[in-house]
Symmetry: C2
Subunit: 328 residues, 2 copies
């Protein structure tokens, strides 16, 4: 959580993050004062700005003296793309809350929320027309946006499919979550004048922490507390099977108990879901999920250590490790 | 309504429209076979392809021999942008039907529909990265996309506002409908090597027929049959006041009768709505709306006649006139 009033709390790039936040606020511009306020509130409160942070730190690791407007705008554009997908996700999940505040859809209704997300896509698009150096740069961004959506759609296509295995899960997570980390890291490094090999390492770092980030998110949903939290209950009842459940299904004994429950699909009761959580926990799937996430984190760190040493790399390393130990 | 199996039914540009349809089908590509089929069905059935038609005819009026892949892709990209906004509109309206077929949202649910629209935005974006000649070209498209959404959002911001007058209506229609006509006409002319003055005339033609197109749509909603049709009832109950109602509100006597009814807002009954329709009809607002639409059509035709004479211009003229006499 970033406090934009105390940028110095945030090491190395605090002031730049304040500038990113300012660009986002300036660009959120619509003839609908209430909505504009709500979007600006969303942009300034509760967001962790992980993606802009990656852009800025990856630029800094290559060129610690780099400070330019384009870098700030690129960082802002990726956060805006992320915000757009959050808003549309909330429409789909009927989420009452987002970033600690009331979600756009629960405050304004789904109609405004759909258009607000669309509006942010256009802001993203606008920023891109200002910052893209060449056609290839547009293409990377266009492909990233498509991969995010194909990940979301893939996840939906495989709902209630107990045979989907890890390949599909990884493909979808790679799209819906890791793509923006990949984009953020690669664009940051590129803007700072990185070599092709450095850009490759930055992107690979981004993709791998993106995947471990999502895996840990899925893991925390299952492990926190004795009762299932709301996101995982929603996922179960809408047939979105995340990593711990998919791993548990690979154990014959757990699968045998899980299958009749999952066969109820949308008719799962709250008790059923608690039973599912217990079976998943007892199967050892949570430890396996953590091991898998650690594998991706380690891969990311390996790539990171091909990039220039210094205080920025040290900070990125620390942030990556602390991500592994976060609690929800 | 275009029959892609009989391209020769469509004068001058029938074969090119078939190519546009083919590009759209190729680009609708997702790991979700059912959704892909539904989107391809939407792309091939029932659509009037008005925007691609404008692109192709405006290119042809400048250079009748022009046939290139970029032109087809640009025409496809604008239709895809239009399809994306139709899908999101259906989410908002909970529309069961679209283009004669079941709408994406009623067949797959709003979750898939939101992402499908987003996916089409990315296809639009992809096509643009392939066709845009320069940064200015991206900017025109980005601005167009934003204007469409600001029109939609503006319309929502002014819901239930009986004092909004015609200025707001025109601004919103200019955004939500006329922008894509403006874009289609301008890009078509530009691709065919038009002069700046010709591009200006093409765009002005597009914007003006876009506005008259929307006005006639609003008018037909009120005038068709003795009972109000579904779209206008939805508009009334959600507070979207279209041209005939806004014009009727400018007549003191009609306004006096309308205001207490409109004050009921979302509580309007079916009988109330029929009464509103009768008041609007009796006020002469339908004739006024038609006159206003004709003004915009005439302005469009005036601009058209600054462009090179020939069979293409004649055809555009005829299509424009027939639009004025269409029935829903």
């Amino acid at each position: 959580m970033i406090n934009f009033n105390a940028p110095s709390d945030y090491p190395l790039i605090g002031k730049q993050l304040v500038q990113v936040n300012r660009v986002i606020n300036q660009r959120i511009n619509t003839r609908y004062p209430e909505l504009q306020d709500a979007l600006r509130t969303m942009a300034s409160h509760g967001g962790k700005y992980i993606r802009p942070t990656i852009v800025l730190l990856m630029a800094r690791i290559i060129d610690p003296s780099l400070k330019n407007e384009r870098l700030i705008k690129v960082a802002a554009s990726i956060e805006i793309l992320h915000m757009a997908s959050l808003i549309h996700d909330d429409v789909i999940d009927d989420s009452p809350k987002r970033r600690g505040a009331v979600s756009i859809q629960s405050r304004f209704g789904k109609d405004i929320a759909v258009y607000s997300g669309d509006l942010l896509f256009t802001v993203f698009f606008d920023l891109l027309t200002e910052t893209a150096a060449d056609r290839a740069s547009f293409q990377r961004n266009a492909h990233a946006m498509r991969h995010v959506l194909n990940g979301e759609l893939g996840q939906m296509a495989e709902r209630f499919d107990i045979h989907q295995g890890l390949t599909n899960y990884l493909r979808n997570v790679n799209g819906k979550t890791a793509t923006l980390f990949w984009l953020a890291a690669g664009e940051g490094a590129r803007l700072a004048g990185a070599t092709n090999r450095q850009i490759f390492c930055a992107r690979s770092f981004g993709r791998n922490i993106g995947i471990s980030f999502q895996m840990l998110d899925d893991l925390l949903d299952y492990s926190s507390g004795d009762s299932l939290n709301k996101p995982v209950m929603e996922d179960l009842s809408t047939g979105v099977y995340s990593l711990p459940l998919l791993l548990a299904l690979q154990h014959a004994d757990a699968a045998k108990k899980l299958k009749p429950l999952l066969a109820k699909k949308r008719q799962l009761t709250a008790d059923d879901m608690v039973t599912i959580q217990q079976i998943v926990k007892a199967s050892g799937a949570l430890q396996e999920a953590e091991q898998l996430a650690t594998k991706f984190t380690n891969k990311a760190l390996q790539r990171l250590h091909e990039l220039p040493a210094g205080p920025t790399r040290k900070l990125i390393h620390e942030l990556t490790i602390s991500m592994l130990h976060r609690n929800k």
